[in-house]
Symmetry: C2
């Protein structure tokens, strides 16, 4: 997905939120914001939002002189959700359709985010997701595809959300699942540390994607990761960043599991902010010129409507 | 008032709104946004928001190659409010306290704005303002000060709002009033053309402030304007921009008439977004170091609370 103009003030908002969290020094906050604005004035918006996010958060880490400014926050999220996990597991166990229940909880976990303009209430979201029908719901097809697949690649999103992913993966045949995390810290996205903290190695093979983008930018990922991505019959991708960076990939069956957190993603998916989504995508290889033209027109229409 | 970090995404939002309005060319929109981001990465936030607004809108006019991108919009606002004016005048005439009624309508007119994140409904606001008590209401003191003053300087804000200002000035002794407008186009702020369109010359002497800032930055104003500002016993200042640029001026009695349109101004005034304000300020000349220190602490507290 390309970056829309409206993604820029959202990245600026994120920077301010971070600046206020990590330092009391007003000068440092201003320098941080100014450096991010400078970076955003020099990038092409024809890239995806995770491309821009990667650059912005690189600048933030550099200015702060801190390779992982969200480490404390990630550990807090991890601890909180670890405490919730046994109760959530029991909840799944008591459902008549355990798989559907675990899918919904996995999406609820996607509310854990430090990114978009957004405050979250985890417990409220958990209750909601169990009773609210997803706006797009390809759960039955996902269930079937999982049973047929010989290699499944599950792309994690945020720290803490990892426990929710475990609930879902526990409903899947673990011997054929790879669970991928970011290759280095970016925002509160899950890295290996967070995956192991959620003991995901008990139900899947944990791999790093080798990239510090807040999404899955294939050309920035390691060869090992790309090899597994290529071989996977099925990719399950959690959250905004993975959607934004993979929704135009051709020749791969991908299920996007996410909560809609901003108007831009909402428009792109034809949903409202707050909606839950289980969406199957399998773009044909080599989209024709006509398709590309039609897509560009759609983008234009969408932008006029914003 | 200094610029808060949160003013930056607001200026970025304004730029996008403008970009979408003035051109369909996606490349031009991106260049516009990038140039504004670049400008915002190079300015000091120790200046007031109108200082930054002046630079941002200078960049916008330059990139668009258009000295007055809001001309059409300003003319539309002018026409709409011209149509409302006779009815509003009648409304004032039928009030038992005509001055208080005109003050409230003058504030309602302040809703006309293209600046902050904001959509406005003029008629709804007019109805509201007549029945809602201003959150800060120094109207009685203003009435008394007007009767005693020998020279009054009224600082206009936006085009169209000029007709609302006329309603209020009609309740004041016209021979001692100067009505000041911006010296050159900036956003939809009123310039001489808009003041004459509202026939303000019938009730006041129209002057230009000689500056293209969306506020009143004294050091940027013409000598003629500064001379009148110095001589005025009383300044009536409309809107956010005039408040942001003048609220720390010492040794001058200023009444700020405005509608609170953003959280930053709300916090500064101790009000809510949507509140109406008639606020008297008369800062002593030469604030002591102690006062300055206390102000800085207040700023810090306010920022932590944001």
């Amino acid at each position: 997905m390309k970056t829309y103009l409206e993604c820029i003030p959202c990245l600026v908002d994120q920077t301010i939120k971070i600046a206020r969290q990590v330092t009391q020094d007003e000068n440092k906050r201003e320098i941080l914001l100014q450096q991010v604005l400078k970076a955003l004035s020099n990038v092409s918006y024809n890239q995806t939002p995770p491309h821009l996010g990667q650059q912005v958060h690189g600048v933030i880490r550099k200015v702060l002189g801190n390779p992982d400014p969200f480490l404390k926050l990630k550990r807090e999220y991890n601890q909180v959700v670890k405490g919730l996990y046994p109760g959530l597991k029991q909840k799944v166990g008591s459902c008549s359709d355990k798989f559907a229940c675990a899918i919904r909880l996995a999406i609820a976990g996607n509310i854990i985010d430090f990114g978009p303009r957004h405050h979250f209430e985890l417990m409220k979201t958990i209750d909601q997701v169990l009773y609210k029908k997803p706006a797009i719901d390809d759960t039955p097809s996902l269930k079937e595809d999982i049973s047929k697949a010989s290699l499944i690649l599950y792309l994690g999103d945020n720290a803490g959300e990892t426990f929710f992913d475990r609930l879902l993966i526990e409903q899947m045949p673990g011997d054929k699942i790879y669970y991928a995390v970011r290759g280095a810290p970016v925002i509160n996205d899950a890295t290996s540390e967070d995956a192991y903290y959620a003991e995901l190695e008990k139900v899947a093979r944990i791999i790093s994607n080798g990239s510090d983008a807040p999404g899955t930018i294939l050309e920035d990922c390691s060869d090992e990761f790309k090899n597994i991505f290529d071989r996977a019959d099925l990719v399950i991708a959690k959250g905004h960043g993975n959607y934004e960076s993979l929704n135009e990939v051709e020749g791969k069956k991908i299920y996007f599991l996410l909560m809609v957190k901003c108007k831009i993603i909402g428009r792109d998916l034809g949903c409202q902010v707050g909606d839950f989504v289980v969406k199957r995508e399998e773009k044909k290889t080599g989209a024709s010129d006509q398709e590309e033209k039609s897509r560009k027109n759609q983008v234009k229409d969408m932008e006029s409507a914003l």
